[in-house]
């Protein structure tokens, strides 16, 4: 009996194994959020408990402090290799959300990511993005090649038929590989529940009846009213909600096509 979550899991494992076989210096972009933590678990499934690739975290320095504490403990507990990327030059020049949200995301996330890729000679990244997150992600391919400047040629993506991914890449290009593209937010939570995954406590409701549904930088990420304090109650909440997952993320709402613009320049 193969249930729906198992089908998703096996599909993702296939993709991860393809990427590992064919992409030089593969890494996993880990934001410590629920999606990339599920992705990390799937990497372990693919490699029978091993994590043969490094994790990359782009630290804008504006992350919610608990995230960094949790990150360091998790990496220590699981013996993982972590590369932390940061755009120190921009931070030294006083970059922050007050300079404009999209400008800030561009400098502290996109540019920091591209620099980290270059510095570490990374040929490909596993990313936990999903189609149901927002419109421009819905149009992604499982494998998306990015030239040095990270741009996404969304108007002319290569054909991706059946499970044949185009993973050959020229030196100066890196691959974005999206094993969770077909998952939904609900799938992710149901999977976390089923696999009993260790997940960032910020997702759970605090004493004030507030929780994060999506994690990011503290100046641009809001909490939602919720009393869901266990994984089961989060699953129930997601099943019935009518608000969008990224409603608390300010950059999405900066203007109509904000995410398309950010992402076409290399944003995750």
């Amino acid at each position: 009996m193969t249930d729906y979550l198992t089908r998703l899991e096996h599909e993702s494992v296939f993709i991860i194994r393809e990427a590992y076989k064919k992409v030089r210096n593969l890494a996993l972009l880990w934001s410590m959020g629920k999606d990339s933590t599920v992705l990390l678990h799937l990497v372990r499934k693919a490699f029978l408990g091993h994590v043969p690739i490094p994790l990359v975290h782009i630290d804008t320095s504006y992350k919610i402090p608990e995230m960094i504490t949790w990150r360091d403990q998790y990496v220590k507990d699981h013996g993982l290799r972590l590369i932390v990327g940061q755009n120190k030059a921009a931070l030294a020049d006083g970059m922050g959300p007050d300079k404009g949200r999209l400008v800030c995301c561009g400098a502290l996330k996109t540019q920091a990511l591209l620099d980290t890729i270059k510095e570490n000679n990374i040929g490909g990244l596993l990313l936990g993005i999903r189609r149901d997150e927002e419109g421009s992600r819905a149009k992604e391919r499982v494998v998306s090649p990015r030239p040095e400047n990270g741009t996404w040629t969304y108007k002319d993506q290569v054909a991706e038929i059946w499970n044949h991914y185009n993973l050959h890449l020229p030196e100066e290009v890196h691959m974005r590989v999206h094993p969770l593209l077909s998952w939904t937010e609900l799938d992710v939570w149901e999977y976390i529940e089923r696999e009993k995954l260790d997940i960032m406590p910020l997702y759970f409701s605090n004493a004030d009846g507030q929780r994060y549904r999506s994690l990011g930088c503290w100046p641009c990420t809001g909490t939602i009213d919720s009393c869901a304090s266990t994984i089961e109650s989060i699953v129930d909440e997601i099943r019935t909600t009518k608000t969008s997952e990224r409603a608390g993320r300010a950059q999405d709402n900066a203007d109509t096509y904000a995410m398309q613009k950010l992402r076409s320049q290399g944003y995750m």
């Binding site: 419109g135 149009k139 038929i161 089923r194 409603a247 109509t256």
Partner: protein, 626 residues
């Protein structure tokens, strides 16, 4: 644990027949579109001065919303009446066909949307055919925009009959034809007034009734299919090897004796490894697995695992139907990458009917795929029976494998009842008598590059050294044995085929053959090589810049060709495909005839070809020294 079923359905059809509108409507009514998203789309529509457009939920790109088109495919989940659907939107423009195909390749059933007012469009039928190639053999047809055609039953019946006939002709199954208005949301879940004459089910109940959910129990179905597991990788994180891959057909259990194709290795499955470790008694179609085998055998990515008595076919030639998906047309001379399962092999394509017509974006063609090494595959609509054709970075075609080709003789053999006679004097006997080996020197190059001139000088030198030698000069042959042929690609192919067979006959008499024909097509030269045999075929590229050829113009042909008196002139108005890997490349614009001949003789010496001892006198020796 939650148990979901899911139906994967792709929505296809002609441009503007309402695919995205239908999907957007379904998403709005049954998907969980967050209130903010609806508000966002409402605002965009207001600012553009249009009604709320359901398609905008899918066509999220600015360019898509501005131009009112879908550029790329996307997919959405929604639930209806407890049934879970994955609906895949596919753009209708021919320009975006690769995106449509990318989307449709993930589906099990198709919804073919036709504008009831406009009727069947060019992309309607193309999409139907593509679904056939992709193995999506079942379609539900939707006749949309019934509001626009006044809900007329007669019009609906007309369109329905026409499309049913087309579906049948393609060998596919038409599950139902349903009239709807996607924009108004009519006849999606319940009947509407205008369509009271319609006796069938509304669209969604129809989908539930006529499509099966894949999920539920694949184990039973899988048991009936032969096992096929495509090997992705072999892991050695510890001392042990794990053979990782995906089951694409059938099932596998510990204890099974397994056969690897094409290597032919055999072992027994000890366990199906998992993380976290648990006892896994069975893996079925769709599962990603890691096998622990009894023997640590050496196999590589690309192999197909099966049971020993149900192995896939192995061949380096296969017949297939494909659809071309690139704006660059198919280049029959090009080398492509063939991907079947996890196998990747370079290959060339040849039209099944040997007519080398132009194949562009959206064209279907039957081909023979000639792979550089044997690959394994299936043909009966299961397992490893689908493939894609790629360039280095892109997928340019996809298709399904048809019947196996038998080793047919090159060229079309019209007479069937021919039994090849044997027992004649052998080539070695001829060679022993002459005291030297035979071989073929195949010159290729533009008209005026100096092939005939070089052939004459080379023939003279070899003759002086004591060899039996024969030149096959293109123009001379065309005045005799090939006098019936012109310069169309097909005629050129036939010309080369004849020259190759002549060479082969002379080779059997132990002769050194010098062929001097333009032979502009890489494919034709490859066929010549096959006829003659790779070990005797020496490709000599007589290079000369076309400007130099033009200024030489020994036969006045360039003048005529540029004056329009000759069409199909290689290098001017017909292609010349230079060889990628010639045995020798001789530049006649910089080398003297003597040094060209010397290079060829040096090559023959390196190949171990020697003149007959009897002929080595002073003149002979002189001729044989480079």
């Amino acid at each position: 644990m939650t148990q979901h079923e899911q139906r994967k359905i792709v929505i296809v059809g002609h441009v503007d027949h309402g695919k995205s509108t239908l999907l957007g409507r379904l998403l709005m009514d049954f998907g969980k579109v967050p209130q903010q998203t609806i508000e966002k789309v409402r605002k965009v529509c207001e600012s553009r001065g249009v009604q709320l457009e359901p398609a905008f939920f899918l066509d999220a790109f600015q360019e898509e919303q501005e131009q009112g088109i879908s550029i790329d495919t996307t997919r959405v989940n929604f639930e209806f009446d407890g049934h879970r659907f994955l609906l895949i939107d596919a753009p209708g423009h021919l320009e975006f066909l690769k995106n449509m195909t990318s989307g449709a390749s993930g589906a099990e059933t198709g919804i073919l949307v036709i504008d009831g007012h406009e009727g069947i469009g060019s992309q309607t039928l193309r999409h139907l055919k593509i679904l056939g190639i992709l193995g999506v053999g079942k379609v539900v047809v939707v006749v949309n925009k019934m509001d626009k055609s006044g809900y007329k039953q007669a019009r609906f019946e007309e369109v329905a009959a026409e499309i049913r006939a087309h579906v049948e002709r393609e060998g596919q199954t038409c599950l139902a034809v349903v009239p709807i208005s996607a924009l108004k949301g009519e006849n999606l879940t319940s009947a509407c007034e205008g369509l009271s004459w319609y006796a069938g089910l509304p669209l969604l109940p129809q989908l539930v009734a006529s499509t099966t959910a894949v999920s539920v129990d694949t184990a039973e179905a899988a048991a009936a299919e032969p096992l096929r597991m495509v090997l992705q990788d072999v892991y050695r994180f510890t001392d042990e090897r794990f053979y990782a891959g995906r089951i694409v057909s059938g099932s596998i259990a510990p204890g099974a004796r397994v056969f690897f194709s094409p290597s032919g290795k055999v072992s027994t499955v000890e366990a199906l490894e998992t993380f976290p470790p648990r006892d896994m008694p069975l893996a079925v179609k769709g599962d990603s697995v890691a096998l622990r085998l009894k023997d640590q055998i050496f196999v590589e990515r690309g192999e197909v695992v099966s049971l020993p008595d149900q192995t896939p076919e192995v061949n380096n030639e296969l017949q297939a139907k494909l659809i071309w998906l690139n704006s660059e047309p198919l280049d029959w001379a090009n080398e492509y990458l063939l991907k079947v399962g996890t196998q990747e092999v370079s290959c060339r394509l040849e039209p099944s009917n040997m007519v080398f017509q132009q194949v562009g974006n959206g064209d279907f063609v039957d081909v023979v795929i000639k792979a550089q090494k044997p690959i394994c595959f299936d043909r009966n609509g299961f397992g490893v029976d689908k493939f894609v054709i790629c360039t280095t970075y892109e997928t340019v075609a996809c298709g399904s494998i048809m019947a196996l080709t038998t080793a047919a003789p090159q060229g079309s053999q019209k007479s069937k009842n021919i039994v090849v006679e044997s027992g004649f004097v052998k080539r070695e006997e001829h060679e022993n008598r002459h005291g030297h080996k035979g071989t073929v020197l195949w010159m290729t190059g533009l008209s005026g590059a100096g092939k005939s001139t070089l052939a004459k000088a080379l023939e003279r030198r070899l003759f002086a050294a004591g060899f039996r030698v024969q030149v096959l000069d293109g123009d001379n042959l065309r005045s005799g044995i090939c006098a019936d042929l012109g310069f169309e690609p097909e005629d050129r192919a036939e010309n080369i085929r004849r020259v190759a067979h002549l060479s082969k006959l002379l080779l059997n008499t132990g002769t050194v053959v010098i062929s001097a024909c333009i032979s502009p097509y890489e494919k034709d030269r490859r066929i010549a090589k096959e006829i003659i045999g790779a070990e005797d075929f020496h490709e000599l590229f007589i290079f000369c810049p076309i400007e130099v050829c033009q200024s030489r113009d020994p036969k006045g042909l360039y003048k005529k060709a540029s004056g329009g008196q000759i069409s199909d002139f290689s290098g001017l108005n017909a292609p010349y495909q230079p060889p990628a890997n010639p045995k020798l490349r001789l530049d006649s614009s910089t080398m003297s005839i003597e040094s060209e001949v010397d290079s060829i003789i040096a090559m023959l010496q390196a190949e171990g070809i020697k003149p007959p001892v009897s002929a080595v006198g002073a003149r002979g020796e002189l001729a044989w020294k480079p």
